[in-house]
């Protein structure tokens, strides 16, 4: 191996440009792959891992205490398909009427458990201690929300019940309750249901979950099961956030790898072709064919491995903020790239490079010494001599006709370079379309910026001064001030909607239909008992427009009908105010959204309101912040576009470097007969422009098709019905600019080596001959 290493090491060291190009191409490709794989792993692994660690319940089931006894439930759970069971635990639903530690008022599910451990749903008691005595409660909150200093030791007065002190915070992966008390305490809270937690041996599909639940409820009295919650609902909800981005990013990742492989193949085969003489000399010296192949593989592998290692580092650096952004608010600790992804990339990318290098290396292996030496020392006139002669006969300026003739000489190299440009243009096109769609989606989330001013009532329970104006007076004042066009009043609450899991909802009155939420199906609420729900929420819960369901607010229930599905927005569900009046007649609106007439001075409106309303009502201008999803996708799209565009440009760079190296003699001759450096630069750049033009024309439609296919598919995966209007993002001026992307990549990539070629001196060329 000594001689092989000596020859390879020298080649890597002396052919710095070639080594740097290979290293950079692999570096950016690896970074692209790390980010894409990191996101894929992060979007699925945390939930699965956390659920396995916490022995999460596959089904959380609530049974009517009056219909079935604990002993019956325990006996019924003794089924062959049940892996583990916990319970029965007494369950009560409290109504929170005061705001503590940022908890919203509304229902709070409390379960009596002796400890946080057990065979199912092991709780993560991350602050304080477990509730063991009377008057103690442990709240269910994800860790790391910074509530501990303020909330530990706070008290709750249960209406008609005991005073409860918060002694701890715990996190349940199964989301089995909002809070826990000791089994002795739950009796004082008047439980009406018993909670059972099941883990089944087969639990991957809805059908398996249904079958498992049927087996443990088969022998129970009819009506005993009040409600149940499958863990698959939680899993889908979790995946809907980051899951929405994964398909987009995988497209970028795959494009990155394909571009990288093409460029590496181009670089390596170029190294072989320009190294014919080198190969011949090695063979004449006594290198065996395998040793020659080994020299060429090592020559490529050294910079590739270095590039790969640095690429993993860069990928991790890029992925950290991007993944943190992607998982914001989803309770995923330590969002970042896992070690498995790093190892996969560290091993996989060099293998990919080796595979790409194998063909040209085998070609080097098979060349006879004489053939190689003579090919290296006798430059061929070119296979496309006829085309070059024809071009020379045209009336085009000489640098252009000569430049256009250059690529024809090496069709394989040109094909690889053009493929890289095509993929670069596909990336740019797809990323542009995706960004535009995401911007439109973001606007839909922000209701197209319809609201200019928001007024929020202060919370006396949180130590703030109580509002001076009542609800109706506030609304009246807002309407009466100059510039107000529409006013919508709302009140936020956690409700139950056909499930044991709470749902964030807002009850609205006034001009809510003008808020600008983009409807996918159905219509906005126009009467009592109507609700509209967000697209992803409906998909997660298996609900649809037209369905009638039970709405539970603080233990009071009413029937509501889903009349519309909106694309995106802050709340899962919007309900008509009449429904709130029915369930909680005394509830006041706490939020007001005001739409102003065009040209109205927002600050003046806020000042006038604040002066008239006095204390307890905070008015703020609504800043149309871009949504997290839009920011994440736009960031990813920009970074991938930049990186893949750069990789494609490097492919062009390498091709022009190789062309220059092969045609040094011709360049010397052309300069010796009077071609200026500027003309040489122009000629070398011109040689790549046709590739850019063709690459643009081929890549543009493919990028558009990719957008048309992948974006709706990704939206479906995220449980969103994407309206057709969001796919119409292409306009003639934008398409014209995108078509030029290929030319831009080609010119950018060709410029530096073209300049270097122009600076070659005739004497230098002759010396190297």
């Amino acid at each position: 191996m000594g001689a092989v290493w000596l020859a390879s090491r020298a080649a890597v060291k002396r052919r710095r440009l070639q080594s740097v190009v290979i290293g950079l191409v692999v570096l950016f490709s690896t970074a692209t792959f790390v980010v894409a794989l990191g996101l894929l792993a992060a979007s699925s692994a945390p939930f699965t891992n956390a659920y396995a660690r916490g022995h999460g319940a596959h089904v959380v089931a609530d049974f009517d205490m009056t219909a079935v006894s604990g002993a019956q439930l325990a006996r019924a759970a003794e089924q062959p398909g049940v892996e583990a069971v916990a319970g029965p635990f007494g369950k009560a639903v409290l109504t929170i009427t005061e705001n503590k530690a940022g908890f919203p008022f509304g229902p709070l599910t409390v379960v009596g458990r002796a400890d946080p451990a057990g065979p199912v749903d092991r709780l993560d008691l991350w602050a304080g201690r477990w509730a063991t005595g009377p008057g103690e409660i442990v709240m269910n909150r994800p860790s790391g929300q910074g509530l501990v200093p303020r909330a530990l030791g706070d008290t709750f007065q249960v209406p008609g019940g005991p005073l409860l002190t918060i002694v701890g915070f715990a996190d349940s992966v199964s989301q089995s309750a909002g809070a826990w008390v000791s089994p002795g305490q739950i009796g004082a809270l008047h439980p009406s249901e018993q909670q059972m937690l099941y883990r089944f041996k087969d639990s991957s599909t809805d059908a398996e979950i249904r079958s498992g639940l049927a087996s443990v409820t088969a022998g129970l009295p009819p009506g005993a099961l009040v409600e149940s919650q499958s863990y698959l609902v939680l899993k889908r909800a979790f995946a809907a956030g980051p899951g929405a981005y994964v398909p987009f990013l995988m497209v970028f990742g795959v494009l990155g790898i394909v571009v990288a492989v093409l460029i590496v193949a181009n670089v390596v085969s170029g190294a072989v072709v320009t190294g014919f003489r080198h190969i011949g000399v090695l063979k004449a010296l006594g290198f065996t064919p395998n040793q020659v192949a080994a020299v060429y593989l090592t020559m490529i592998s050294v910079p590739a491995i270095a590039g790969c290692a640095l690429g993993v580092v860069l990928g991790n650096i890029l992925a950290k903020p991007l993944l943190s952004g992607a998982f914001q608010g989803l309770d995923v600790p330590n969002a970042g790239v896992g070690r498995a992804v790093d190892v996969t990339c560290l091993l996989g990318v060099p293998v990919l490079v080796a595979v790409a290098a194998l063909g040209p290396a085998l070609r080097a292996r098979g060349l006879s010494a004489v053939e190689a030496i003579s090919a290296g020392s006798t430059p061929r006139a070119g296979r496309a001599l006829r085309a070059q002669r024809w071009l020379a006969g045209t009336r085009l300026p000489r640098p252009i006709s000569l430049g256009l003739g250059l690529p024809i000489v090496r069709p394989a190299r040109v094909a690889l370079t053009m493929a890289a440009i095509v993929l670069g243009v596909i990336t740019v096109t797809f990323a542009t379309g995706l960004t535009n769609t995401m911007v439109a989606y973001g606007k839909a989330q922000e209701a197209n910026g319809a609201v200019q001013v928001t007024v929020r009532a202060a919370d006396p329970g949180d130590g703030q001064t109580a509002r001076r104006l009542g609800d109706s007076e506030t609304e009246g004042l807002l309407r009466s001030l100059p510039g107000a066009v529409h006013v919508t009043a709302g009140s936020y609450a956690d409700i139950y909607l056909g499930s044991s899991q709470t749902t964030d909802a807002e009850f609205l009155r006034g001009d809510s239909s003008t808020l600008g939420y983009l409807m996918v199906k159905g219509h906005w609420m126009n009467g009592a008992g109507q609700i509209v729900a967000r697209s992803d929420f409906l998909h997660q819960r298996g609900l649809a427009v037209g369905d009638q369901t039970t709405l539970d607010l603080g233990g009071k229930r009413t029937q509501v009908r889903i009349v519309g599905e909106f694309l995106a927005g802050g709340f899962s569900v919007f309900c008509d105010w009449a429904t709130l009046t029915e369930l909680a007649p005394d509830q006041q609106a706490t939020d007001y959204e005001i739409q102003l007439a065009p040209g109205t001075n927002t600050d003046a409106y806020i000042a006038a309101f604040t002066k008239a309303a006095g204390t307890g009502l905070n008015a703020t201008a609504d800043t149309n912040q871009t949504s997290v999803g839009t920011v994440v996708i736009t960031s990813f799209a920009s970074i991938f576009t930049l990186m893949l565009g750069l990789i494609a440009a490097m492919g062009v760079f390498n091709t022009v470097v190789l062309n220059t190296r092969e045609r040094r003699r011709n360049l010397g001759m052309l300069k010796s007969i009077g071609m200026t450096p500027r003309q040489v630069t122009f000629m070398m750049i011109t040689s790549m422009v046709p590739l850019g033009v063709i690459g643009g024309l081929l890549g543009l439609p493919v990028g558009i098709i990719a957008h048309r296919l992948i974006v709706p598919a990704s939206a479906r995966a995220a449980g969103i019905d994407m309206p057709a209007s969001m796919m119409h993002v292409w306009h003639a001026p934008m398409l014209s600019v995108l078509a030029l992307a290929g030319v831009l990549i080609a010119v950018l990539g060709a410029f530096i080596p073209a300049r270097a070629a122009a600076r070659l001196t005739v004497a230098e060329v002759l010396r190297s001959e």
């Binding site: 001689a3 000596l6 020298a10 080198h278 063979k283 010296l285």
Partner: protein
């Protein structure tokens, strides 16, 4: 004067090269047409002829760099046609070395590494190979150029590096393809002087040239080739 570096049994008269009815075709072109000849150890043979007559092809056949279309080539008792590429490569490492008209040095390696590489190929430890390379470069008068790269050397210096590289593994047979073709007359004379020193020390040398004067002054046998055939052969008495 250079010492005889061959470690083989160079008993005078032993056949080192034997070609029997060797024919080589490149498509429709016949480069060699039934060439038969023998070269004995210790000989300095000049192969002469006009450009394109097939003399370089003949040398490539002897070096095992190319294979004949028909006929047999035997070098140092080994019939080359029976060897695969790997075995031929091993043969070239130890027993057959070649000097080229355009030097064919590896541009990526320094002068010292170019020379030492030949020894590294046969497994000589790096330090030992470099020591021997320095000795050879010293004997050829270019030890002070050892850390330079070939591109920075003159033609004569490059060819001396080529000679040093060829001598590194004590070859049985030294082949030289127009070794002075790319050199000025002074540098050419110096290189030929080195080769003849080697011959006088017992090295078998086969020299391809189209320079009759050079051949008659340095070789002790002349083989004339024309149109791919051996058209003449005579003994010479070298004048130098």
């Amino acid at each position: 004067m250079l010492r005889c570096m061959s470690t083989e049994d160079d008993t005078a008269g032993r056949t080192v090269v034997r070609l029997d009815a060797v024919r080589k075709e490149y498509g429709a072109t016949i480069a060699l047409d039934g060439v038969s000849l023998e070269i004995r150890s210790g000989e300095a043979v000049a192969v002469m002829g006009p450009s394109g007559c097939g003399k370089s092809t003949l040398l490539n056949m002897i070096a095992g760099l190319d294979r004949p279309t028909s006929g047999t080539v035997v070098v140092d008792g080994e019939e080359l046609g029976r060897h695969d590429e790997k075995a031929l490569a091993r043969l070239r490492r130890r027993r057959i070395r070649m000097i080229f008209q355009f030097f064919n040095l590896l541009d990526d390696l320094s002068v010292l590494d170019n020379v030492a590489l030949a020894a590294r190929l046969i497994g000589v430890p790096a330090a030992q190979a470099r020591r021997r390379a320095v000795e050879l470069l010293d004997e050829l008068g270019i030890a002070d150029r050892q850390s330079r790269y070939p591109a920075l050397l003159s033609g004569g210096e490059r060819q001396r590096v080529g000679v040093a590289r060829a001598l590194m593994n004590h070859p049985v047979l030294l082949l030289a393809d127009e070794p002075t073709g790319a050199l000025d007359s002074k540098a050419g004379e110096q290189v030929m002087g080195i080769l003849m020193d080697l011959h006088r020390a017992g090295q078998t040398v086969v020299l391809v040239t189209h320079d009759r004067d050079l051949a008659s002054r340095h070789a002790n046998r002349l083989i004339e080739v024309a149109d791919g055939r051996v058209v003449g052969e005579r003994r010479l008495k070298p004048t130098q």
